[in-house]
Amino acid sequence: MAAASAPPHVQTDAVLGVEALTMRFGGLVAVADVSFTVRPREILSIIGPNGAGKTTVFNCITGFLRPTAGRITFDGAAITGLRPDLIVKRRIARTFQMIRLFPDLDVDENVMIGLHGRTRAGTLDSLLHTPLHRREEAWARDETYRWLAFVGLKARARSRARELAYGDQRRLEIARALATAPRLLILDEPASGMNPAEKAGLVQLVGRIRDSGVTVLFIEHDMSVVMGISDRILVLDYGVQIAEGVPDAIQRDPRVIEAYLGREDAE
């Protein structure tokens, strides 16, 4: 793909642009002046020790936090401070660090809720079950099962979400995000708590998601996952961007090594 060969810092083909993003909570600066771009169909990882501000960056991009300063663009249009549902409408989807499913709903219902923004049935359609509503429901069911098959959960469609194994819950959350038809998928530590087999499956799934044309931005702790899958890596430490580059370069970067190994705060 062009992404791998394109020179860095050429912004014209950027899907997501983050410029001078700063987030302060009272006196605490969680994210300080972070800038980066994500190019179409690449997998960009953000890594860093706990408390480095990775999730805060994600929350700013997805509208769950309004940044103190800075600008976020998607496809050239500013999306800074938009509501989360409007960000989804712009086709950016996310998962959460602590899985947030609808645990008491069925697996297929979880995915179907992700189709909300892609269906139009209004109040009267819902009250009367109009032909439009019926057509949409039939479409939504097919679309739901398509995504369940994609993540490998079709056989569990009628189980309660809470009954799934941990790794499957992560997959379900990804399926719900994919159901919104994102162009950019943001995954917050999707491999955390997974066993090695589940991690391998996740790496394979993320690869397939990218191959389907979706750009992936993700936070990860697990270096084996990050190094194996990322086109580029961005390193944050105490809210400050300390390195950016291809995996090999990042692995040798002395500032990164110091941030990870040189201090005792790696919790």
Binding site: D85, L101, F102, L105, A121, S126, H133
Partner: protein, 338 residues
Amino acid sequence: MKALATQPLSFHRIAPIAAVALLAIGLPIFGTPYLIDVGTLVLVYIMLGLGLNVVVGYAGLLDLGYAAFFAIGAYTTALLMVQYHIVFWLTLPAAGILTALSGVIIGTPTLRMRSDYLAIVTLGFGEIVRIAATNLTFTGGPEGVYGIPHPTIGPLVLRSPQAMYWLGMGFALVVLAGSYNLARSRLGRAWLAIREDEAAAQAAGIYPVYYKLLAYVLGAVFAGAAGSFFAVKLTAINPSSFTFIQSVTILMVIILGGMGSLPGVILGAAVIIVLPEALRAFDRVRMLAFGIGLIVLMLLRPQGLWPSRIGQIVKRAVALSEARAAAEIAPGVAPTPE
């Protein structure tokens, strides 16, 4: 709320429905006028319960002033019929629009608040409507509006208890069908999502404020329809029918029946209306017995008489948010998935 399932119709599911249908059809044929009137009142409370169920059961919003919308519907129909001689059926859209409008006006600024604040605001709204109706001249003050004409269908005047019962049944069935469809729709899923996890719902592309307002307004319109029927059923209305106690009674219907459950609402309405009537033999201690009866019922069946999956979800969601809050206070004890 099995949105995707088409459950097989087993005897276990059919039998209670058949029993209720038989009772509902047999009552106006074999019942005394008094019994039919009690049945009609049950139908009014079924409508009110179903409407409030959309607000509390589906969307998870605590409304303590629901009787206000009941009042607005009743007064709209009563005044339009008595003062302007408009036929009953044409007052219905007017009642719908007015209740929807008041729902929007009250809901828009308040639905962003947490549920306990919302409860206080709706309580205040309920009292304002009742006090306004008591003091305004055009609503007839404390005496209210009387001489409300009987509704007609062509040359047919609906006057007898049986006729009113069937009219009420028609209203209740429409509201029931609407509630049933809502639960199995895109809207129903959105409400379910918001109530289970608001942040996850947002991440799925749902704007919670809009859907909360929609639930509130739909609930208001259902109450308005119930009010319109109530006005022509009694032919006279006054503010004493729309007190805070009325709001609480409607809330009791759904809590007693089982939050979010349609059969629960029907059962709850029947118990709330029939139990005090059945206790008339106890005379002076009647309401005391009724109160004790309710307490015992809630102690024996806290989940409601006919609980739904939703009721359990609400309970779990509360437990979960409490667990989350505890985890935030003490991050060290937060459950880490391993």
